[in-house]
């Protein structure tokens, strides 16, 4: 509870779940004494002890594998990737072991795999990636990416309680963003996995997005409001499974869809969303389904390059304006 930052909300969520349920434990690189590279697990080891806050070797496959093994035994592991970019080293374990276990022999893996994602902090090609598209085609996994402290806390708690493996992405730009500081309830609450949120209501056009780009979309919407355009912003929150109903309802209302994500445009999960709309909201469309993503390149390091690479408010404003006028 209290007025919290994004990072503090996640920390609280993990803390409360550990307190509530002794099966919950934390595992990852430097999550103990150091409290994690971004201090998401700060203080946990002092309170819960090193048996429940486990520092590992630099071994992402082992972290994922061990979390799976522990989950099979009924524990509720919360595994951290120091940067989500390193999930690539645990990719096999996630897609082949974690995702398929229940289907193959009914053994659920109630584990959370979390870490900082996203660009915009000049961290270069290996500390800036958005990895959701890697997993979008792997049934058995769930994916979550919150955009504000309230959701972050509610979703991390829901993820920990979820009976299946959940990938939980935290945009590192949001961790300490003053703008996001927010009062959250003292009482226990969760935000249901699988439910998108209408971040802003509008009638002229739907921007469908998630994570840090929700802020880009809201800023663009505000700018466009001054031009008399009434923009709806959908914050997906859960990326897999997508909340089809909320997406479709919004597009059926506005008849114009702009999909926005931070990963490169080609092959990003925007395609899945566009496909959904072009199939199931087709008759309500008044204009092409438009996607905005980053350039089809790795994330460059130097500020001017990175700015060009990433979708900016002006890109969204420009595209939305044209799309509304289409």
């Amino acid at each position: 509870g209290g007025v919290v930052t994004f990072v503090e909300a996640i920390r609280q969520g993990i803390w409360e779940e550990m307190e509530r349920d002794e099966r919950v434990f934390v595992i990852g690189e430097d999550v103990g004494v150091y409290g994690g590279a971004f201090k998401v697990t700060d203080g946990l080891i002092d309170y819960f002890g090193p048996e429940r806050v486990i520092d590992t070797p630099i071994s992402e496959a082992a972290i994922v594998g061990a979390a799976c093994g522990a989950a099979l035994m009924g524990m509720r592991p919360v595994a951290e990737f120091q940067f989500i970019d390193f999930i690539s080293c645990g990719f096999d374990m996630l897609t082949n072991f974690a995702a398929k276990c229940r289907y193959r022999w009914g053994a659920g893996i109630p584990a959370v795999f979390r870490g900082p994602c996203g660009a915009g902090v000049h961290a270069g090609p290996f500390h800036s990636q958005n990895v959701e598209s890697f997993f979008m085609n792997t049934p058995g996994l769930k994916m979550v990416e919150p955009s504000n402290p309230y959701d972050a806390k509610g979703l991390i708690k829901a993820a920990i309680r979820d009976p299946d493996p959940v990938l939980f992405f935290e945009h590192k730009k949001l961790y300490r963003l003053p703008r996001l500081r927010q009062e959250i309830p003292e009482d226990d609450y969760i935000v249901e996995i699988g439910r998108a949120r209408v971040a802003r209501e509008g009638h002229d056009l739907s921007i469908i997005t998630f994570g840090a780009q929700v802020l880009t979309a809201l800023d663009a919407a505000e700018e466009l409001e001054r031009e008399g355009l009434d923009i709806e912003v959908i914050d997906l929150r859960t990326l897999l499974p997508l909340d089809r109903e909320t997406i479709l309802a919004s597009v059926r209302k506005t008849s114009r869809a702009l999909i926005l994500h931070e990963a490169p445009r080609t092959g990003g999960i925007g395609g899945e969303i566009a496909g959904l709309i072009a199939e199931e909201a087709f008759e309500w469309l008044d204009a092409p389904v438009v996607r905005i993503g980053a350039t089809d390149t790795p994330v460059p390091y130097s500020p001017p390059l990175e700015e060009y690479h990433l979708p900016q408010v002006k890109d969204v404003v420009d595209a939305a304006r044209r799309l509304a006028a289409y």
């Binding site: 434990f25 048996e51 429940r52 486990i54 590992t56 070797p57 071994s59 992402e60 496959a61 082992a62 972290i63 994922v64 594998g65 061990a66 979390a67 799976c68 093994g69 522990a70 989950a71 099979l72 035994m73 009924g74 524990m75 592991p77 096999d92 374990m93 082949n96 072991f97 398929k100 276990c101 229940r102 289907y103 193959r104 022999w105 009914g106 053994a107 659920g108 049934p139 058995g140 769930k142 009976p163 299946d164 499974p241 089809r244 199939e279 199931e280 087709f282």
Partner: protein
């Protein structure tokens, strides 16, 4: 920690005549039970080949012919609460853990009554109650998973140990390394049984690793390494028992190399053209079932007739088990879409709904 060579073992130069090199505390009953599982493994596989030739098996059959003693002997050293993660060639361990042959037959025939209900093949299923974690194909992956099983057990104050099996080939994977290293750091009671059967598919061990003994790899993890004659079932049992006791009492992980040999191809379709004939002949003489039978009879532990009775009992049992599995229907097609998630009573969306109006 230096690699410890368990007495009398020198494979691939194993003395053919050698029968059981270790003093054992096993009772006669236990020794006959060991024989039961050993022979059961051999006969289940023979039955599978049989079904395969009748086109009743879907997919391949992966034999452990000649190396059954390793899986059975090592697994027999576990207590009921302990865990295993076997590989395709560890049917013996699966049976020793109490999985019934019917489950195996149903799996191989892709039947609805099989433990994966036709979703996965051969021993790719698990049974948490019996301490059997189902493997996946990707070699090495089970080592980290078993590390997690034991990490959990420690948190749950369970005093269990686990065996993870790995091949000479599988030890080259990154997952093996990451998992065993983590287990060693955490001093978890993980026994890794390295089945040195001289081939990984067609690849001989010297193309897989530059070490002389697979047990030499223990030094890289700061854990003890043992070498045992994998075709000597009692030696496998005793060595593992020792490792199990060590691990259970807090000593941490152990690597056991079992020197043995894969007498069949990688699977039934593999013609083994890369294998010298003499090698096969040599290892035929070292057959672990024959060896154990010689041991039991020559030491006066059992008579030939008693062993034959056990065999007859197994054969009868297998007839019933096969009949049961054969009587199972194939799964209902629509089941394919269920149970990806815990809450997937409803199958996930996957067909274009919009056209259904």
């Amino acid at each position: 920690h230096l690699v410890e060579i368990v007495e009398g073992v020198q494979a691939p130069a194993i003395d053919e005549g050698l029968i059981c090199s270790l003093e054992t505390g096993l009772t006669r009953e236990q020794m006959l039970e060991l024989y039961y599982y050993l022979k059961l493994t051999r006969l289940v596989e023979e039955r599978l080949v049989n079904l395969y030739r009748q086109n009743k098996v879907i997919g391949g059959v992966y034999r452990s012919l000649g190396q059954e003693a390793t899986a059975v002997g090592t697994c027999y050293a576990l207590e009921p609460g302990d865990f295993i993660a076997p590989l395709i060639r560890d049917l013996g361990a699966v049976l020793t853990k109490g999985i019934r042959p019917r489950a195996i037959f149903a799996q191989y025939m892709a039947k609805a009554w099989g433990p994966s209900e036709g979703r996965d093949l051969n021993i790719h299923f698990g049974d948490m109650e019996r301490g059997f974690i189902g493997p996946i194909s990707h070699l090495g992956d089970m080592i980290p998973v078993m590390t997690g099983v034991l990490l959990a057990a420690r948190m749950q104050q369970k005093k269990i140990v686990a065996i993870a099996y790995i091949g000479d080939g599988g030890m080259s994977t990154g997952a093996f390394h990451e998992g065993l290293n983590f287990a060693a750091v955490q001093r978890l009671p993980l026994i890794v049984v390295a089945e040195h059967n001289c081939y990984a598919y067609s690849t001989p061990t010297h193309k897989q690793t530059a070490v002389k003994n697979l047990a030499d790899k223990a030094a890289g993890y700061g854990i003890p390494g043992y070498i045992v004659d994998g075709n000597d079932i009692i030696a496998c049992y005793e060595t593992t028992k020792r490792a199990v006791d060590f691990a259970r009492s807090g000593g941490g992980a152990v690597l056991i190399e079992a020197k043995t040999y894969r007498r069949k191809g990688h699977a039934e379709h593999d013609d083994q053209r890369y294998v010298p004939r003499e090698e096969l002949e040599l290892w035929e003489k070292r057959d672990p079932v024959d060896r154990y039978e010689r041991h039991l009879t020559s030491q006066g532990i059992a008579t030939r007739e008693e062993l034959d009775q056990i065999t007859a009992r197994i054969k009868q049992e297998l007839e019933e088990e096969v009949a049961w599995a054969e009587s199972s229907p194939l799964p209902e097609p629509e089941r394919a879409a269920y149970n990806v998630y815990d809450n997937s009573i409803v199958p996930p969306a996957f067909r274009p709904k919009v056209l259904e109006r």
